[in-house]
Subunit: 665 residues, 2 copies
Amino acid sequence: MSVSSLDQLCVNTIRTLSIDAVQKANSGHPGMPMGIADVAYVLWTRFLKHNPENPDWVNRDRFVLSAGHGSMLLYSLLHVSGYDLSIDEIKKFRQLGSKTPGHPENTVTPGVEMTTGPLGQGFATGVGMAMAETFLASSFNTPDYSVIDHFTYAIVSDGDLMEGISHEAASLAGHLKLGKLIYLYDSNRISIDGSTDLAFTEDVAKRFEAYGWHIQTIDGHNHDSIEAAITEAKDVHTQPSLIICKTHIGFGSPNKQDSASSHGSPLGEEEVILTKKQLRWEADELFHVPDEVVQQFRSWSDAGSEMEEKWKETMKDFEADHPELAVSFKNAIHHQLPVNFEELLPVFETDETGLASRKSSGLVLTELKEHLPNLIGGSADLTGSNNTELKDKGIFTPNNRTGQNVHYGVREHAMAAAANGMALHGGVIPYTGTFFIFTDYMRPAIRLGALMETPSIFVLTHDSIGLGEDGPTHQPVEHLASLRAMPNVTVIRPGDANEVAYAWKNALERTDGPTLLVLTRQNIPTLPRTTANAASLTERGAYVYRDTKQTEPEAILIASGSELHLAIEAQNELLEQGVNTRVVSMPSWELFQQQDKAYQESVLPSSVIKRVAVEAGSTFGWERWVGSEGKVIGMDTFGESGPYKQLYEHFGITRQAVIEAVLNL
Amino acid sequence: MSVSSLDQLCVNTIRTLSIDAVQKANSGHPGMPMGIADVAYVLWTRFLKHNPENPDWVNRDRFVLSAGHGSMLLYSLLHVSGYDLSIDEIKKFRQLGSKTPGHPENTVTPGVEMTTGPLGQGFATGVGMAMAETFLASSFNTPDYSVIDHFTYAIVSDGDLMEGISHEAASLAGHLKLGKLIYLYDSNRISIDGSTDLAFTEDVAKRFEAYGWHIQTIDGHNHDSIEAAITEAKDVHTQPSLIICKTHIGFGSPNKQDSASSHGSPLGEEEVILTKKQLRWEADELFHVPDEVVQQFRSWSDAGSEMEEKWKETMKDFEADHPELAVSFKNAIHHQLPVNFEELLPVFETDETGLASRKSSGLVLTELKEHLPNLIGGSADLTGSNNTELKDKGIFTPNNRTGQNVHYGVREHAMAAAANGMALHGGVIPYTGTFFIFTDYMRPAIRLGALMETPSIFVLTHDSIGLGEDGPTHQPVEHLASLRAMPNVTVIRPGDANEVAYAWKNALERTDGPTLLVLTRQNIPTLPRTTANAASLTERGAYVYRDTKQTEPEAILIASGSELHLAIEAQNELLEQGVNTRVVSMPSWELFQQQDKAYQESVLPSSVIKRVAVEAGSTFGWERWVGSEGKVIGMDTFGESGPYKQLYEHFGITRQAVIEAVLNL
C-alpha cells in the first residue's frame, strides 16, 4: 500500500473525527466513514473541483454521499476543507439545532449538495445533476468558452445498489451515456443484518456493464489505485463510471472491522481506544485535527478558490463576447423568469365543453416553451397521455444534449429523483409527468424534494375515477389526501383551463419546494370569469367562484378540479329552489393555508357552517374545511373499471348528491 | 415457423377475441395480447397445470400476467380454457360491474391469480408465490408424497423490467435460487412513447445473468422454440428462468404491427377488418370461438382436472400415512390459527418504564412462533431494529427452504410485493419489517395488497420523531395520515405492550387485507388494566382507557401509540385542577370505524365537544375525531435530528401542551 504518512494522517483524521463524533453523540454510523475514508480523501484532495468559500459556485463538481448514514465522513471532509462547519458543530453531531444532523441535509449545512439517508436517492439524484450539467454545457459552452464543465461524483453503498431506484437510475444513465458521472461504490460486503451474502449476491460489475457503464474494481485502501481509477473514469466520455472499491468497514477497529457491529452503533469507549491505538492516534485526543492535515486539505481548497476566480474571469470575457448567451445563462442560473411572465400565460375562452386539464396544461407548456429555454421535462413513458411534450424542442439524447424532452422510460422513481437533482444543480427548470396514481412509485423522491426544498414540478394526469375504464389499479383515491399531508408540497388541482395556467405560474415561480399539478383525463368546462373571480385567484389556493346573492350565503359548496363545474351546476339548481349558496373553488389547500386569516375568513366565513365539499377522491381530511356540521361527497373505497360518467353515478359523486347534501343540512 | 393450422386457429382466436373486445369497449390494449398470444397459447395448452373447474386448487401452477394492461389476453385464455367467464363477460370488457375490468383483478375474476396493471408488481409478487411454494414443498413433501409441487409463471414486459421493483425482485430471486420461477419476457421493443430505443437500451440478458438467472432468447412466434425453452427452464432447478421472447406487438395488423399505435388504443374498425383478413379470419365474425379451439383448450383443462383428482387421491393416502403432517398442512392452507389463539398471547405486567413497542412486538412473535409453523417473515436489512426475527427458526436460503426468517436485503418494495405473493399463494402467513418511513418505498405494493385483499402484515418500527437522532429523513410525519387514507388497510398504532399483543392477534386473524403495525423505537410504559379497559379492546379500534369520574367527562383526550401515556399523565394533572376528562386510546381508526354507532357514541359521546387529540405525527385528518371545536396536538412540518425527548419538547408534543389545550377549550 503506497500511502505517505501525511496521507495516512489525513485519512485517519477523517476516521477519528467520525469515531469521536459518533461516540460523543452515542448514536450514528462509524463503520462507513472509517472504511471509505481513503477513497474520499483521494477524491477530495486530488480531484474534487470545489471552493469551500463559495459552496454555491455553479461550476463546482458535485459530490453526493448517497449512503447518508455515513454523514460524519462528509462533515469531517467539509470541516477540514474549510467549509463553514466548525469543530464545535462536529462536536454537536446529531444534536438539535446543530449543523451536523444525523443524516446530511442540504438546507442545514453549507457544502452538503443534497439530503441523503433514504437509500438509493443520492444515486438517482446525482443522475439528474449530471443531466443538468451536460444540458447546460451544451447550451452555453462555445468553442472558446467552457462555462459549465464539471463532474458529478457520488459514494454509493450496498444498500443503494439493492434499492430498485438504483436500477432505474443506472439504466437511464447508461442509456443517456452520462460520461461525467462517476460513482464510487463502497463495497464492504457488510450490511446491517450482517454479511451481504445473506441477501445480496448479484454480480454488480456485470449488472452495471449491462446498463452500459464503465466498470473498474480496485482496492479501496490503495491511494494510487484510487487515483488511477478516478483518472481513467474521467477519461471515459461516453459512459458513466462505477468504481468498485473493495473496502473494510470499520477500518482500523481491532474487534469491529469487517463486522456489522461497526455499522450503525458507536464503537464503544473501549474499542475507540483500541482503534486509535491501531491507527497510531493518541487515545485521549478527541476531535483532533493536526495542523498539517488542515494544510493539506486547505491547499486543495485554495486551488479550488483559484479555479473559481479564473472561471469568473472567463465569465467576464464570455459576457463580452457572447452578451446574449451570457444574459440567458444568468437568467437560467438565477431562476429568473421573463419579466412579463404573467402576460405570457394563455387565456382560455369560456367553453362549456372545455377540455381536459391535462390538455390545457399541454397548451400552457406550448405557450411557455418559447420563453423558457431552460425548461427540461419528460414523462415516464406516457408523453402523449400526460401532454408533457415540448414540441420542436428535441429529445434529450447522447447526441442531442440540448433536447428539452426527456424520455424517462417506465422509471417514475428515478425520474422524480432526477428532477430533484436537476433542481438542485440549478440552471434548469425540471418537470416530470406520469399518472397521478404513480406518485406512489415516486413518493420517497417527492418527499425528499420537499425536505430539500427543490422546486421540481410534477404533471400528474388521470387524477380520479374520471379516467374511467383502466379501473382501480389506475384510479387515485387517497392520493390527494396522502400528498396534502406531506409537508412542504404544494398540491394544485385546478378546476378549469385558466386555473391550470395559474397553477403553472405558481409552480414555475416557486423556489422552495415541489409543486404537484393534478389534472384530469376527461374534459371539463372552461368557466366564465370576471374580475371578481379571476383565474389569478388560483394562487390564493381558494376563492369565491360565485355567490348567488349579495347577502351572506346559507351554505357553501367547496370543490376542486373536475368537481368545480359540478358544484356550480348544483348551485344553479339550489338557487331555483331558493337556497342561496356560495361556490368556493379550492384548487390548493396549501396555498389557501398560506393566506392571512382575514382572507380565509372572507372565503369561508365561520358563520356559515352549512358546508358541502365535493371531490372525486377520498373524503379524508376534508373535515378541516366543512367542519363538524358539514358533509363531504367523495369516496373511501377503491374505484371500478367502467366509463367515467357511470362511475361518477356509481360512487354518488353527482350534482344531485351535492344538492341533497345541502338540503339535508 | 412450425405452427399447425389448429394451433394457428387457437392463437388467432385469442388475438381476435382481444381485438374485438377492445374495439367494442373502445378502450384497451390490443397490441400485447396479439404479440404474445403464441407464447401464452403454448404455455396454457402444453405446460400450465390448472383446473378451470377449481381455480383455488392449491397445487396448481401460478400464472401472473405482470403486464396487466394486456388483460384481454388473460380473459381470452380463461374463457377458452373453461373458467367461469362467459363470452358475454368478454363482450362487457371494461364495463362497470363486469368480470372483465380494464386490468385483471383477482377479487373479480375466477382464475386471475392477482391484480396487475401497476408495472413491476406482478414480477415481484410472483417471486413471493415461488417462495411460498418452495417453503411449503419443503415443509410438507415427504420422500413418498409430493403435496406441493408447482411452477410460477409470469408474462412480463419492457415496462415491468424498467421498474425498479423488478431489479429488487430479480436480484432476490436469483439470490434465493428459485428454480421453479419461469418468466416469459415479451420483448416487443415497443413502449407507449414509441421504440424502446428511446429509453431502454440495457442488455437485459446480461443484467439477469448478473442476478444469477438462467437466460434463453427465442422467437416468440415459433411454437417449437417456445415449448423447448419452457421445457429447458423447468429442468433448471437452481436458477430462476427468464425466457426472452422476441415478439411483434400487434401481430397480424398490417398497419399497426410493431408500432406504438397498437399498444394502448383500439385498432380502429378499418384496421380490425384488415387484421382479420391477414389472420384469415372472417371480418364480420365478432367474438368468434371455433369449436375445435374450445376442444383443444378443454382437452388440456380436462387433463388439469384429472391431475387435481389424482392429487386429491394422493392427499388421502398422505393423510393416512402422515396424519399429523396432513392436519398441519390443512391448517396452513386454510389459514387456521390455533383454537386457543387468544390464550397464547403474552400478557405484559404493568411497568412504568415499559419497553419499546417494537420490542413487545418481538416478544409476541417469540411467543407465537412455536404455534404458527407457517409464519414466514423478515426485514429489509433491519432485523435487529425491527425485532422481526423468529429465533431458532432458521434463515430461508437455497439450502434451507423451511427457514422462516427471510433476509430481504434493502429491498422494501420487492419485500412487500413478495409478501403479497405469499399471501396470495396461501399456506403461509407472511410478515415484513422495516422503518415506518420506508412505507413510502413500498407504497404501490401495500396499495395493491389492499386492493387484492391479501392479509400480509407489516411491522413498521421507528414510528415518529421518537426515533430521535436519525433526523427528518427517517422520521415519519405524514405517514399515519397517508396510510389511514388508503382503502382497506388496517393501521394499528398500539399504545402499550398489551395493545401490541392484540394488534398482532387482529393482524393474524385478518383475511381480507393488509395490516400495518406502527411501533415505537423508544420505551413506552406498560399500562395498568382492569376488565373495563382490557387490552382486548384494542380490536375495537378505540376505547375508554380511563374516566376520572363517574359523570360525563367535560373533555376527552384521544391518543395513539407513544402519546397514550402522555394523555394519561395530562389527565392526572387535569383531575388535580378539577377538570373531569376521559382518555380514549385510539390505536386504529379503521377498526373503530367498523364498530356500530352505539359503541362509537359510547366512546366519543357527541355531547362532549371539548376534545384534544395528541399524536406525534401530522394533524391531518384528526378533525374527524375532535370536530370543529377541538384541538389537535401534532406536527405538520418535517422533524429534526436530536435526542427524542428534546424533539417532543421542540415540537410541542407534551403533557403541558395537552393540559393547556384542554384548559383553553
